[in-house]
Amino acid sequence: MTMLSMRRLRSRGPGVAGLAKQIDAEPGTRGRELRRRLSLLVQTLGGSDVGQTIDHLERLEVELAHGDAQVMWLTLAVLLGQFPIESSLRRACRMAELDGPLAVVAAVMADRKDLEREHPNALRHHLDIVTNQVVVDLHHTSGAKFNTGIQRVAREVVRRWAETHDIVLVGWKSGYTALYRLPESIAWETKGDVGLDDESVAPEGSIIVPWRSTYVLPELLGEAGRVDRFQCLAHFSGNRSSVIGFDCVPMTTGETAIVGMGADFAHYLSAVARTDRVATISEASAVEFRGWRAMLKGAGIEGPEIRAILLPADKPTLNDEALAIVRDQLAVVGMPMVLVVGSHEPRKNHRAVLHAAEMLWREGLSFSLLFVGGNSWNSERFTHNLHQLQAEGRPVHAVRALTDELLWAAYAVARCTVFPSINEGFGLPVAESLASGTPAITSNFGSMREIAEAGGALLVDPRDDHDIAAALKRMLTDDALHASLARQARERPARSWEDYARETWNYFVDPSLR
């Protein structure tokens, strides 16, 4: 349903008395909630609760008469319980200008009838306006069963914000029409595929309408309806909005991404263009976002402020049992182990690693190679090459996933790691390898170079197989070099999630709300 599908009213607009009568006649829970929302709306806009619908409407008419898009955004969101998208908001503003503010209220009442037919519960939902608060959107993370990459960052940082500050945790209602309050218990669990789209599975709390607040998005969003409403909120609602910027890979490195992902990502970016601040997870990612922001000039958009706040790496947790399992089952006795962590998508460049390894095995070097990561888009070629080498008897193995304990043990057991990716917002396996005191071979640009700068890594051109092979050979054969890199890795300054949470909070949240 499009909001304000309108039924455009012919006349100069309805009389206030008629509208008040219509509102007062709304039956049951839906009617009580509507009158409560109207009162809430008027109070939020600075009026007092005088109890009478007609007084509230007159007050609202005055507030809307200024043609203020923020007030219109709030009015539509509250009375419909659905956040407007830009086209609805513009239509409403134009209608108010031509036919008077009450014409918009009349159109909203007509839309509520459609809504009542299509989503009988939508109008009965309890709704809160939260003013001067920090609203954190954890929609996808709260429903995700995995705990990698983006979800991990979102959980780690929001958990720490929640420990030290008052925040309102929200997700999106089914159909991505409005925000609702997320129970904290839901937010922190790594659950199965719950599917919040299904109202019968996920009980939804109150609808939350932020006002004069800070809206923070610590995850990525790609769902079309969610993007449109987020964009309109960021652009017109008057709320301050901030996002964590992970990378621009789907746009800048589209050849390595799933078909269609580039378009979804571009849509997401068109919403980010309307936010106030982006904290990128590395300087390299900031370079991408700044380039993108420069592109916005053609559309007359200034774009958000961009600042790099480097992600931390977790501290390794080691136990003997896990170490024993890795040594017995994943390593090859008498051979140094080379570890590669990450999914087998083309961007990770794992086929170059296989090729470099084969060149060295043919030279007579002895080492085993372990890949930890799932299959992914277009990973068939990698799998094919892997099986070829295995058929030839090369000591190369691949496991889809390891528990955290086993992964840390694998880092600890490995002679070195190899991570020659083409583009990363933050090369997590490099950071984890170095945090484990295990030297890494990684790309000589971008976030990987950035992470390597504090020591412990050899840098290579990932597009040159021979360069990767040469570095791997040095790492395997030059014990002095290896020892020196391992020492550098151990001496790297630690950076914690607490540091990251504090820096992002201070950047995102207006001082008056901190």
Partner: protein, 498 residues
Amino acid sequence: MTLTLSSATGNHHLQDRLAAVAPLIFGSEHTSPGQLGTAELLTQLVDSVLSDLRTDRLWLLFVTIAARYPTQDELADGVREFELSDNDRATLWLLDTAVEGADDGSAPRRMMTFVQDAVLVEVDHSAKHNLHTGIQQVVRELLPRWTRDHQVIPVAWTPESGSHRALTETELARVLKWGDIGDEQTTDYAETSPIIVPWRCIVVLAEVPLGNAPLRLAPLAHSSGNSLVAIGYDCIPIVSSDLVPTPDSSRFVNYLSVIKHARRVAGISASATTEFQGFVETLPTQGLLGPVVVECMLPTSPRRSGPSNDVATLDRPMVLMVGSFEPRKNHLAVLHAAETLWRAGLDFDLTFIGGSGWGSELPDRIDELTHAGRPITVLRNVDQSVLDRAYRSATFTVFPSTHEGFGLPVAESLAAETPVITSDFGSMRELAAAGGALTIDPHDDAALVTAMRTLLTDAGELERLRLQIADRTLREWDDYAAELWAALITPLLSGDEQ
């Protein structure tokens, strides 16, 4: 620059193709490949590539055998395979891969022409179709001038976007003689034009390639020894992705994966140049430098001949908006401003001229206002003469688009000596800067109302804008064609890349 057409006769057999490519792969010292059998010749060519493994020579040998350009995966596979293989295995890999990936049945039977040290211009869409908007107009103005002044080879794609091919007679006419033939031409079915294989060439993307073409253009750009350059129209599908259909954004991401490996890009306006430069600025994060981006502004069309503005003959003012019926063009703001002014008692006609479009909100709103008696005219897919007449008849035009690479309706309005109200940023502001236009924030309805009211009620202001138009200096297509050559081609020939 020399143009070498190797073996222009019937070389559709593998033997002939190998003989034709042999001098390019062996170098000049090799004398008589023609005396060898196919198998011996292939062995020698593979040996030659193996002995000095470079991606450009492997790329060329692959194209010769497969009759299509390799994808990045195929080329990377090939290099790795060759590195670890003897002649037999390498040859088998080449033949296997050629067969496996063959999805265009016509390719092996086509003639193949090897072209060295030449300039190829990709004009696929303009050659194959009669559509004549934006990019096609540029191509059909540019190509006649470039073919007149330089040696260039216009090329299109084979079916399934396997490789470039020569144009048919019909296609050549569509690109070089559009003014004479118009859109009378039909498509050639079962064309059999020869595959064109560039070697040490400059390939110019005069359009935005579609389909699978980018998959094969990227390795051509970075690993084949050819150089790729492009006209940069805009980055709307990325920057304003909320206002374009999703498939457009997907296609554009693929296009950018080619652009990042281009040597030079010439933006059609300062605004388009800024957008492509912004993209280039993202590239250090993936270890790439990207193309040199320069500005080469499209011409504002020449003043149209024809009767002078016949505003006086209209019984009331006419406001014209030209542009496809899509949200980005902002028709709804114009309707709102018009309704505001009609309600205020102003009397004027509003005419929309456009082609395709989508969404129901605009047609619904037009219906509603027309029903209420407002004088709105909507014309679709009109021919150039109707369009020219409309530009000349209009009191003024409005074009408050939210994003353009150039803003053709602004240029055309000024060419017709009709003042225009347009947006105060990007390419539209550039076009407006030399006079004849009022600029406004297209997101600010009140500003649009004010500007339209001014031009409807203030004859002096309208006249002032008309005088400004008369003073604008003209920029012709000849200027553009020459400057574009200097921007894209000359630096690569002279080795001076700034």
